[in-house]
Amino acid sequence: MIDIWYIAILDPVLNGLIALSQVCYNSFGLAIIVLTVAVRIVLMPLTFKQTQSTKAMQAMQPKLQELQKKYARNQQKMQQEMMRMYKEAGINPLGCMWPMLIQMPIWIALYQSIMQALAATPENLLMLSQHLYSWDIVGQAIPLNEEFLGLKLSQPDPTLILAILVGLSMWVQQKMVTAPSTDPKQAQMASMTTMMMPMMFAFFTLSFPSGLALYWVVSNIIGIVIQYFVGGGWGYFTFPSFKPQPQTAASDQQRALKEGSDKKN
C-alpha cells in the first residue's frame, strides 16, 4: 500500500516539484505556486460542479424546510422524500465535498514532498535519493533553495502573517458560498463551520512547513477568483460597512418613546 502511494502519487509530485523549481529559476516557492495553479486547473470541472451543486442546494432550501416540517415525526420518510427531491433536481448532496476530498491526497503528497525535497536534515537528504527519478533536471536541482520571500519553506512561518493569510482567505472563500439560513439551528451550525475551518487551518499553519501554507493561501485565492466569476460576484460574502446604519423599527420605536416623554415633560 505504501509502495503504491509512493509510486503513484508521492514520487511524481516530488519529482515534478523539483523539476519545476529548476525551471522556475531555482525557486521552490515559485514551483509550489505553479503546481497549485496546475492542480486547480485540473480540478476546475469539479469546482464548477461544486459551485453549481451548492447553488442548486441553496435554491432548494425552502422546499427542504417544508419537507422537514411536514415529516417532522417521520425521519425515514423525510430522508426518502429529500433524496427523491435531490434526484429529480439532478443533485448529488455529497457533490460539493468531492473537490475537497480529492485535494486531500494532494495536500498530503505536497506536505511530504516539501519535507523530503527540502531535506532539512542530512538524514532527509539521504532518504530523498530513493525517491528521485534519474532525470538530469532533478539531479541538478538538488539540494533545493528553501528561501522564498523571506520564508524558510521547510519550516513554519515564525510570524503570524501566513497563518492570518491562510485563515482569512479560507474564511472569505467559505463566506462566499455559505447561504444565510432562516433556521436558527442551521445558521448557528453554518456559522460555526465557517469560523472553525479557517481557524483550524490557521492553527495548522503555525506548526506546518510554510511551503504547505503557501499552497493553501494560493489555492484559496484561486478558489475565491473562480467563485467570483462562476458564482457571480462575491456571493454571500458581505464587506464590512462603515456607512451609518439604516434605522430599524426598534430604533424608531425607541425614538418615538423618547419624543413622547419629552413632550410630557
Binding site: 498530503i108 506536505y111 530513493q130 539540494p143 451550525m189 460555526m192 463551520t193 472553525m196
Partner: protein, 392 residues
C-alpha cells in the same frame, strides 16, 4: 441533546481533516509533523588502544576494544564519555532547533580526529570541542563563550597537525589553531557544506551544495582556483596523485585535475555517490546508493569490476589487507576480494551504518543505526562484541 447534535457534523468533518493530516505526515517524519530529527553518523578515530566516536545521543565516547570483548562495565580504566551539551536552543543549528533542555545532546555526524593528546569533534550545533584523548576532559571549545556558533557541522574535520579545517552549513570553511582553538581564517563559499574538505600539500579542497569545488591555501585561506559543475557535490573529496575524486547529485563520479580543476573523466552511476571514494594502488573504490560498489582505474575511469549489494550503500568502505569491507542499507556487511570484487564472506547485522567503517586487522568496527557499536570479525564472520551508546 439537540444542542450536542448540531455540533457533531462539523466536529466530525474537522476531526477527519485532522486525522488525515496526522496520519499523512507520519511516514516521512517518523510520526511527527512539527519538524525533522537529526541522528548523526560518526565514524571512528584511533588513539593508542581506544577508539573514539560521536554518538547519536550527542556524546563523544572512547572505547577500549579489549575491555569491551571482556564485557567489562563501562567505563573501564582507559574509557570515557563526554556529553556535548546543547545550551543555546536554536542557535545556528541548521534546519533543526536543538532541544531546550541543557542536558540533552544532539547527534554527532563528524568523525573525531586526533592530534597528539587531543581529540577534536564538530557538532551539529556548530561548535568544535577539543578533548583530552586520555580522559575526555575539555581543553577548549570554539567559538568561545558568548560568541555565535558557526553553523551545523556535518562533514569531518581535517588536520595537517597544526591546524583544523572544516566546512559548515553556513557555507564557510574555517581554519583553527589545533593547540589553542584560536581562529585563523574563514572562507565564504556560495552554498552550504555538508561534506568533508580534504588537505594535500598545503591546499584545502572542498565541494559545496552550490555545485562549486574550491582549492584554498591552508596558510592564508585565499582561493587558488574554483570551478562550477552542473550539479552539487554529494560526497567528500578524495585525493590520489594529481586528481580529486567526488560524487555529484546528478549521478556521476568525477575526476578533476587538482592543479586547476579541469575535468579528467566522469563515470555515470545509477544513483548518488554519497560515500567518500576510497583509493589505493591506482584504483578507486566507490560505494553508491544504486546498491553497487564500483572499482575503477583512477587514471582513466575505466570500470574494473562492480559488486551489487542487497540495498543502497551509504557508508564509506574500508580496505583491510587484500579485502574491502562494505555495509549495505539492510545491515549486511560484505567482505570482498579487492582484486576481483568477489564476495569472500558476509555477516547480516540487521542494522546498517551511515558513518565510515573502521578496520583493524580482521576486525571491522561500525556504529549502527540501532545505537550499537559492532566489532565484527570478518575472517570468522561473527560479531565479537557490541556496545550500546545509550549509556545509563
Amino acid at each position: 441533546m439537540s444542542r450536542i447534535k448540531k455540533y457533531i457534523k462539523p466536529l466530525v468533518l474537522l476531526g477527519l481533516i485532522l486525522i488525515v493530516f496526522v496520519t499523512g505526515c507520519g511516514p516521512i517524519t517518523g510520526g511527527g509533523c512539527s519538524g525533522t530529527q537529526t541522528q548523526g553518523w560518526s565514524g571512528f578515530a584511533l588513539y593508542k588502544n581506544v577508539i573514539c566516536f560521536g554518538s547519536m545521543e550527542g556524546k563523544v565516547i572512547a572505547l577500549d576494544p579489549v575491555a569491551r570483548s571482556e564485557n567489562k562495565t563501562f567505563p573501564s580504566e582507559s574509557e570515557w564519555s563526554y556529553l556535548v551539551k546543547v545550551s543555546t536552543p536554536g542557535s545556528a543549528c541548521g534546519a533543526v532547533c536543538a532541544p531546550s533542555s541543557s542536558s540533552a545532546g544532539l547527534g554527532i555526524y563528524d568523525t573525531p580526529v586526533i592530534v597528539e593528546e587531543l581529540v577534536y569533534v564538530g557538532t551539529y550545533t556548530g561548535k568544535i570541542y577539543a578533548l583530552n584523548a586520555s580522559r575526555g576532559v575539555v581543553r577548549w571549545i570554539y567559538p568561545r563563550e558568548g560568541y555565535d556558533t558557526v553553523g551545523a557541522i556535518v562533514g569531518n574535520i581535517v588536520t595537517d597537525g597544526k591546524s583544523l579545517y572544516f566546512g559548515s552549513a553556513n557555507g564557510k570553511i574555517y581554519a583553527l589553531d589545533a593547540a589553542t582553538g584560536d581562529f585563523k581564517w574563514e572562507f565564504q563559499t556560495s552554498n552550504k557544506i555538508w561534506t568533508s574538505p580534504t588537505i594535500d600539500n598545503g591546499i584545502i579542497y572542498a565541494g559545496n551544495y552550490g555545485g562549486n569545488v574550491y582549492a584554498i591555501s591552508a596558510e592564508t585561506g585565499k582561493e587558488i582556483w574554483s570551478i562550477k559543475i552542473p550539479s552539487a557535490v554529494s560526497s567528500s573529496i578524495s585525493i590520489y596523485e594529481n586528481s580529486l575524486y567526488f560524487g555529484t547529485f546528478d549521478r556521476y563520479l568525477y575526476a578533476i585535475d587538482k592543479a586547476n580543476g579541469q575535468e579528467k573523466w566522469k563515470f555515470a552511476t545509477g544513483n548518488w555517490v554519497w560515500a567518500r571514494p576510497v583509493i589505493q594502488s591506482g584504483r578507486i573504490y566507490s560505494a553508491c546508493l544504486d546498491h553497487k560498489l564500483y572499482a575503477l582505474d583512477a587514471l582513466t575511469g575505466k570500470e574494473l569490476w562492480q559488486f551489487t549489494a542487497e540495498s543502497p550503500i551509504v557508508s564509506t568502505p574500508v580496505i583491510s589487507g587484500n579485502y574491502i569491507d562494505v555495509i549495505c542499507d539492510q545491515g549486511i556487511l560484505y567482505k570482498l576480494d579487492l582484486d576481483k570484487g568477489t564476495k569472500v564472506s558476509s555477516v547480516a547485522l540487521g542494522y546498517t551504518a551511515y558513518g565510515d567503517l573502521f578496520a583493524e586487522g580482521d576486525t571491522v568496527y561500525l556504529y549502527a543505526r540501532d545505537h550499537n557499536v559492532y566489532a565484527v570479525d570478518t575472517a570468522k564472520g561473527i560479531v565479537s562484541w557490541k556496545f550500546s551508546s545509550l549509556l545509563k
